[in-house]
Amino acid sequence: MAPKDTSYDNLERQGFDLHPDPLNNWKTAHGDTIRQKAVFDMQPTNPELDIQPTGNYEVWIREISPIAQVKLARTEAHRIDTEIPISPTKYATLPQVSDATRACAYTPDGKFVGMLSTKLYNNLANAFHHAMDSGYHNQVMPPSKDLNSELVSILYYKRNAPRKFINK
């Protein structure tokens, strides 16, 4: 049975074109040209953090605005009761936003991996180049490609390392 909308005129179909194949009338051909150009990235993208893919591991020194959650009081007497509405005498606990310069690391497809302080980045860069000049890199397999890929590797390692710290 043919789909009901085949009998509708263009006005009723609100501009949706019918598929040229009569057997696929139910498939809209609307926007075919633009849809063929669209690329769907199945990985989550964070426009606040990620960058346009460059095909290489990247470390960018950039301004960021990290948000730190304010630690809530642990004792019962000072615990904030979320049931009580905000009032002139009861203030909301807002996160603290600050501006900072950080070395942000990205994968070749532009995904943000993590960040380092610029001081730590400089220390690691100096250590990397010093180790390279001293011949340490010859002992490492697979050989190092560049500093940026090693920094991304460290950040992945830190992210995936098991957290053994338990606050006893």
């Binding site: 220390n123 690691l124 340490y136």
Partner: protein
């Protein structure tokens, strides 16, 4: 990233002539330590040596590993046995956790077992140990 506060490391370097970090984190690289060891082999790219337990401890070192009782017991044993089996001056400064002032951990018992070779130099209050990034 996990790293001891600078003031503790600097005090050990200035007043205890510590030159080796046996438990390097990433922020130890490029620091003023002459030698650093890491448990991640790939960190040789940054000039660290691999596996602090591959050789005995000699010289003056600082060691601050994971908060794990078995790891800390291994390090205490390693530090003591290294000092017993070497002719050169050897001192290993370990930063051990003292949860809720309990000292019944195996590594604390080990310290008491060798009073001539190890001692507790001091206790750093929790508020003075803030990890840097």
């Amino acid at each position: 990233m996990r790293a001891l506060p600078n003031h503790i490391l600097k005090a050990l370097q200035a007043w205890a002539i510590v030159t080796k970090d046996r438990s390097a984190s990433d922020s130890s690289f490029g620091s003023s330590f002459k030698e650093v060891w890491s448990k991640r082999k790939r960190n040789m790219i940054f000039g660290s040596k691999f596996n602090p337990l591959a050789t005995k401890f000699t010289g003056f070192s600082v060691c601050h590993h994971l908060y794990d009782d078995s790891v800390m017991l291994t390090l205490v044993r390693y530090g003591i046995y290294s000092s017993l089996s070497t002719e050169s001056a050897t001192a290993t400064f370990l930063l051990l956790q003292n949860w809720k002032s309990l000292n019944a951990n195996a590594y604390m018992q080990m310290l008491r077992k060798y009073p001539e070779h190890c001692t507790i130099l001091g206790i750093i209050p929790q508020a003075s140990v803030t990890y840097r990034r």
